[in-house]
Amino acid sequence: MTSSASPLGEVAVSTAPPTRAEYCVLACAEAWRGAGEILAGPMGLIPSLGARLAKWTFSPDLLLTDGEAMLVGLDGTPEGWLPYRRHLALATGGRRHVMMGASQLDRHGNQNISCIGDWERPRRQLLGVRGAPVNSLNHATSYWVPKHSRRVFVEKVDMVCGVGYDRAAEHPVTARYHHLPRVVSDLGVFDFATPDRSMRLASLHPGVTVGQVREATGFDLTVPDEVPYTREPGAAELRLIREVIDPENTRAREVRG
């Protein structure tokens, strides 16, 4: 579908090359490809747009919530009831793939959203562990970092909330459902497809260099000889993002450029 289909004739808008924020939306959406009939749990703006894009296109069976207690379709029509008590049951039942934020993330995928500094007397108190411990042991858990920096991508997190691969390996039975499919940042996509399950650069968003990623990462990142670029959005996907899912362009406020 091309932009000429737009009743407003916004040809200039819809044919402009993809922005960094749009590559991020697409990279988040890809996390839910092939997910089937499970709950997408996006936390943060761009993951929410990504989940909606996935449901619009290649993962129509995804379940979405209204942010409160209802399961809703793409047009907001309620189709189910998911108060917190059932949400927690759904998490331990495994039918969920969340994309959480991370104040700190290490090379094994240990995530921190609790506090910065010594836990006994933190320098900066943040949210608290929330559901990261239960999420990471029970269903697919991905992470979204809108500003890739050495403050986030650290050698060692101050408080492990979401469990990484090194710690999961110490508890093979309890962590049998542990799975961190991907990390998406404003610079690229990362996974743990290495022999020791440490973080690897999976793709660069177009316009980003390996050097930039290394510079903004506080640990030794695995970088393959050939690093692909994050795939290009199709015309229909771009139109959906720009005209249907996020016509107000809120995505540009989270990721510039």
Binding site: S114, P133, V134, M159
Partner: protein, 277 residues
Amino acid sequence: MTAEEAVSRLASGMTLGIGGWGSRRKPMALVRALLRSEITDLTVVSYGGPDVGMLAAAGRVRKLVAAFATLDSIPLEPHFRAARERGAFELMEIDEAMFMWGLRAAANRLPFLPVRAGIGSDVMRVNPGLRTVTSPYDDGETFVAMPALHLDAAFVHVNRADRQGNGQYLGPDPYFDDLFCEAAGTAYVSCERLVDTAELTKDAPPQTLLINRHVVTGVVEAPNGAHFTSCAPDHGRDEAFQRHYATTPWGEFAERFLAGDEHAYQSAVQAWHKERS
């Protein structure tokens, strides 16, 4: 009973569970009454919101049991943060699911319940008292044995209640208010409107009757009693006032809004809104 009467049954050093979630349907009128009392040294058990922020700012919390504290539309609860950063209270930081299973264990008179959460995370490091339990069946999986979260008292706020203590919620999420009451030795339910028993099911289905009277000690009628948190469908969150709470130094906020009784609070909020319009 009045909110003051409910609070008069509490004592310093108690473990108090507070219902709602974040900045949603919090029993704020009861919390405000507690702030007017001398009661302190509390262990507060809460899916934390401004209840935690206010009690911590006022120095009433000896220990907090929580997975988070948030104002929802403002992700970080500023007064909770400040109190935690100055080391004002002891913290038992646990996962949201562990919290729920702790309440369930207490409600079911079980010493613990197994939960697949916490293992591998630093929840185990910061709670050295947590124990694990291994499945006696063939799978052999190890779980956290989440200890029962016994409460001396619980505060919850619902939309409607009758005088016997039957509580009804009309919003989208019951949160864990029934569980808080079941896990508690005494439970105090505040409500937007006190109604005759027959009225509870006149226009609402039976499953809205969340809290049964046998787990309730006292009922308090407190219109707008969740303010400034949300209480759908009776009232939404007062976002403007919440922002004011979040950005005003605690002493200044308490002096203007919390020096008098509940009526004085509601009047002060109205006056504040009028000033801004």
